[in-house]
């Protein structure tokens, strides 16, 4: 026989101002099976909780309904109180008299009647609630970090330093990412490589980090704490254990005219190459697409010159499967390049370049050893124009968002230029200067006031070539929209930051959501900026949206803490509010007929197959099985199942039906 307790909270005056709480308690107290009913000013307070606990013990209650605020607010509080009094926490239900009743209605009898109805339905529900036990899931304490840019490096190091194993996967031959390409960094103008390379080396030498470069994530199965990841280690065509990284092969390779990705096409590299001198690992790979041997079938110069005989032309790709418990996605971003800006002649005029190309020109290790020279004729540009928001904040171009980093790096570029070409003239066309960040505004002021950078508020309409000069036509909106024409030697476009290539495919492989710009989506824009919608998968850096280095690094450390918190437990405890497939006596075993339509509808890939077998292993029947670790309890499968063979713990069809019937029936 059910003995239900009802506790009506006044929530100060939040509920009692419009609902007659005493009448609610009194009316519900007369219902069948309600053994105890009372109202109190603050149920969530210590005396309120004590009242509940005492009543559970004194009246030997088999279920309670706390009629107060939203369960999002205090369900954990009251379930904990119930548990402390010896009642299974899932035998405690909450009727939301605040958000669903008192806050949205005026004070009158109907409001009180509605409150009574809300409590009544839950009294009926809690009568048939089952005692549920939390689900325990083991945790594999190894993390996977995808992407070896600064965010990935930071995350990997932070996780590794907590004592957990990390696998860092990077698809290019070296870690370092875009940061390794940068010349100097705002707002301090310290050399990017100088602050980055020690971290890269630390990754390579850290005992807890396994580094796979030239590798990509091919597939992911499993769930939080228990993922299985498939990693394709692309063939480097050499034996890394033997290779000493002497670099002889890279100097002797006859193929020398391959556009260098690291130099953003401003330089060339051989077919067997190390992306940049400080690369980690500092061992070459053969680019099979451009290597003469793989194209024509002969050459093998590198094999001949290699002093340790490390070249392996027939080395296949290797696909490995690894068990991991958590994932940090740090795949970074890319920038818009040629053909997106026909009006600016980008890709047509050699001296119209993008921000990353300028970084290489300004970098001491770049193709010009740090001298700012025009790509067309190698002359020092006397007049340089920077165009901010090239593509960004331009809904007509399909990119409505602000790329965030351009204002700052454009100020830096102009500054670097002025530091190197003292007599030169630098102008910046901008829409707004967005310099929110520590010491950022001061940095921009320095560019304007100390380095005399000419800031023009307005957009550039077109750029064309005349007599070897670039004519930049724009407008100065601060002068009432006056047209401006600058005869420039070189133009740098601060092109929009966009999702990295392959981001969409990776998101699909990892089953995480992404936005319309293919950036990875966070679980909550404010309160869960590091989490994805898939439990156990976190985000770091510019793969979420364009970010500068400090933001990427802080988010990377945030993601690392999330991983460390997950790994601090040996078992994960999950709420048992998950779906289940019913069981019946043989020969049916379950009413599930195994049509598996639920499998395609499940957004969490939580539905597996289960075979019933005879003792000699013959399959009698195959039915659906819910993976409790993956199931989020959304109930989509329950709604879809034609034979009503799936149900949801805590919200069973029967419980829902009972609630509806309670509302329809007289009391």
């Amino acid at each position: 026989m059910a003995r239900i307790g009802v506790f009506v909270c006044h929530c100060g005056e939040n509920i009692s101002a419009t609902v007659d709480c005493h009448k609610v308690a009194e009316t519900v107290g007369k219902l069948k099976h309600v053994a105890f009913s009372t109202d109190y000013k603050y149920m969530c307070s210590d005396p309120g909780q004590t009242l509940i606990k005492e009543a559970i013990k004194e009246h030997n209650l088999t279920g309670i309904v706390v009629s107060a605020c939203s369960p999002r607010m205090h369900e954990p509080t009251f379930r904990k109180a119930a548990a402390e009094a010896g009642l299974n926490p899932f035998l405690c239900e909450m009727a939301n008299l605040r958000e669903h009743c008192s806050w949205v209605h005026e004070k009158n009898d109907m409001t009180t009647d509605k409150a009574i109805d809300l409590v009544r339905t839950l009294v009926e529900k809690v009568k048939i609630n089952s005692a549920l036990q939390p689900i325990k899931v083991p945790v594999t304490k190894t993390a996977l970090v995808i992407g070896g840019g600064i965010a990935g490096i930071q995350s990997a190091l932070d996780i590794a330093n907590t004592g957990h194993k990390v696998i860092l996967v990077e698809r290019s031959p070296s870690i370092g990412g875009h940061m390794s390409q940068l010349s100097e960094t705002f707002p301090t103008l310290d050399c990017s490589q100088c602050i980055l390379t020690p971290r890269m080396v630390e990754v390579a030498q850290h005992p807890n980090i396994t580094l796979y470069t030239y590798a990509e994530v091919e597939g992911l199965d499993g769930f939080i704490g228990n993922f299985t990841v498939k990693i394709r280690k692309k063939s480097k065509s050499l034996d890394e254990k033997i290779c000493t990284g002497c670099g002889l092969c890279t100097t002797k390779c006859p193929q020398k005219k391959i556009p260098n990705e690291f130099e953003e096409g401003l330089g060339f590299r051989p077919a067997i190459y190390v992306p940049f001198p400080q690369a980690v690992p500092n061992k070459p790979v053969i680019d099979r697409e451009h290597c003469t041997y793989y194209i024509k079938g002969k050459c093998k110069v590198c094999e001949v010159v290699c002093p340790t005989k490390a070249i392996r032309f027939d080395q296949p790709d290797e696909v490995i499967e690894v068990q991991i418990g958590a994932i940090v996605i740090a795949t970074g971003f890319d920038i818009k390049r040629a053909d997106f800006f026909p009006e600016y002649g980008f890709g047509k005029y050699k001296d119209v370049i993008d921000g990353l190309q300028f970084e290489r020109l300004a970098s001491a290790s770049g193709p010009t050893s740090g001298a700012i020279l025009r790509p067309s004729d190698g002359q020092v540009p006397k007049n340089i124009v920077f165009v901010a928001c090239a593509g960004s904040r331009d809904p007509a171009k399909g990119i409505a968002y602000c790329s965030k980093i351009c204002c700052m790096y454009t100020a830096k570029h102009a500054m670097l230029y002025k530091h190197k070409v003292h007599e030169g003239k630098a102008s910046i066309f901008y829409m707004d200067i967005r310099s929110a960040g520590k010491n950022y505004e001061e940095f921009v002021r320095r560019a304007i006031e100390e380095d005399y950078v000419n800031y023009i508020r307005g957009r550039v309409s077109t750029i064309y070539e005349r007599d070897g000069k670039l004519i930049v036509k724009g407008v100065d909106t601060l002068l009432g929209g006056q047209p401006v024409e600058i005869v420039a030697d070189m133009v740098v476009l601060a092109t929009a930051g966009v999702a990295n290539h392959g981001a969409e495919e990776l998101a699909q492989r990892l089953h995480v959501s992404y936005d319309s710009h293919k950036f990875f989506a966070e679980a909550h824009p404010k309160l869960k900026p590091v989490e994805t919608n898939t439990a156990g998968i976190f985000l770091a850096g510019a793969c979420q949206n364009p970010k500068d280095i400090p933001d990427s690094v802080s988010q990377a450390s945030g993601a690392a803490v999330k991983v460390a918190a997950l790994f601090s437990q040996n078992e994960l405890t999950r709420e048992p509010l998950v779906a289940f497939v019913n069981r019946t006596a043989p020969p049916l075993y379950s009413t599930c007929v195994g049509c598996f339509l639920c499998q395609s509808v499940c957004p969490y890939q939580a539905i597996e197959r289960e075979d019933f077998k005879t003792r000699d292993g013959k399959i009698i029947k195959t039915v659906a099985k819910i993976n409790e670790g993956l199931c989020q309890g959304c109930g989509t499968c329950v709604a879809l199942c034609r034979s009503k063979s799936i149900d949801l713990h805590g919200y069973t069809n029967n419980q829902m039906y009972t609630e509806v019937m309670a509302l329809l029936n007289e009391y």
Binding site: L588, T591, V593, G594, C595, F596, L597, C598, S600, V601, T622, L640, R642, S643, K644, S645, N653, N654, Y657, T658
Partner: protein, 267 residues
């Protein structure tokens, strides 16, 4: 039907199959389903205008499965049923042999699922002409007229579930109507519960009905309940450009999402 008989004979003789599911002449002049396990009895197989039942319904029956591998005489709706049953993993392609019969009643050699798929692709998959006419007439009615029409029809329902039993796609071992915790559909026959049942049945067959019309034919009180599922088949084709039972790897329109799905019905 010499080809059909000789092929059935050959299959049973060589023990390639253990049972042939086909039609034979019944005692009242109607055709009835035949389950032939003895090669000497294949002569009783017939195929003519009287052979209308959808034999695919037997493929999922425990008593028929008990025989072992089955050969089945299949017209277009039966072939489409088989495709759906394979898609929904109720029948395994390797456990059946299809003895195809064309619309003209000619034997067609169906060597495998791919051949069957190619054959289905050449056929008109819309609803039968006669039913299309009735549906067009119903669709012209006002909502109230349609409601009145169905209330009148459904008031006749005696909840015998013959419609369900005749349908090859209603293969659940426990139907939703038999679920009594909670009792979704009233057990007794009343207009309200009858309406519930027929709406539920139509929804469960949305995107799965292969327009054989067996449910309506099986109804002892002549409710044209096949029009409900056929209308759903029409709708699914309009919105998702899908006809049920065209391949053995059908994904259910009700449980899949394609980015180019029409959403005009969400209002």
């Amino acid at each position: 039907m010499i080809n059909l008989v000789s092929r059935a004979d050959e299959l049973l003789e060589s023990k390639a199959v253990q049972v042939v599911i086909g039609y034979e002449a019944g005692s009242t002049g109607k055709a009835r389903p035949a389950f032939i396990t003895d090669p000497s009895k294949t002569g009783s197989l017939i195929f003519d205008d009287r052979c209308v039942q959808n034999l695919a319904v037997y493929l999922t029956k425990k008593e028929v499965r008990y025989f072992g591998k089955a050969a089945i005489v299949a017209t277009l709706p039966i072939m489409r049923s088989i495709m759906m049953l394979i898609s929904e993993q109720q029948v395994f392609a390797e456990n059946i042999v299809v003895l195809g019969v064309s619309a003209e009643g000619k034997y067609i050699d169906i060597a495998g699922i791919e051949v069957m798929q190619q054959y289905i692709a050449t056929c008109d998959l819309g609803n039968p002409a006669k039913d299309q006419e009735t549906l067009a007439m119903l669709n012209k009615m006002s909502t109230q007229q349609k409601f009145d029409f169905w209330q009148k029809e459904l008031s006749k329902c005696i909840k015998c579930y013959a419609c369900r039993q005749a349908c090859p796609m209603c293969y659940c071992t426990r139907c939703a109507v038999e679920c009594n915790q909670p009792q979704w559909i009233p057990v007794q026959s009343n207009l309200h519960g009858n309406t519930d049942w027929h709406i539920l049945r139509a929804m469960h067959l949305a995107g799965r009905c292969i327009s054989c019309g067996e449910c309506g034919r099986a109804c002892p009180v002549n409710i044209p309940c096949h029009l409900l599922t056929m209308h759903m088949a029409d709708q699914v084709h309009n919105y998702f450009n899908v006809y049920a039972g065209t391949t053995d790897k059908m994904s259910s329109v009700m449980s899949t999402f394609e980015p180019n799905d029409k959403e005009s019905f969400i209002q």
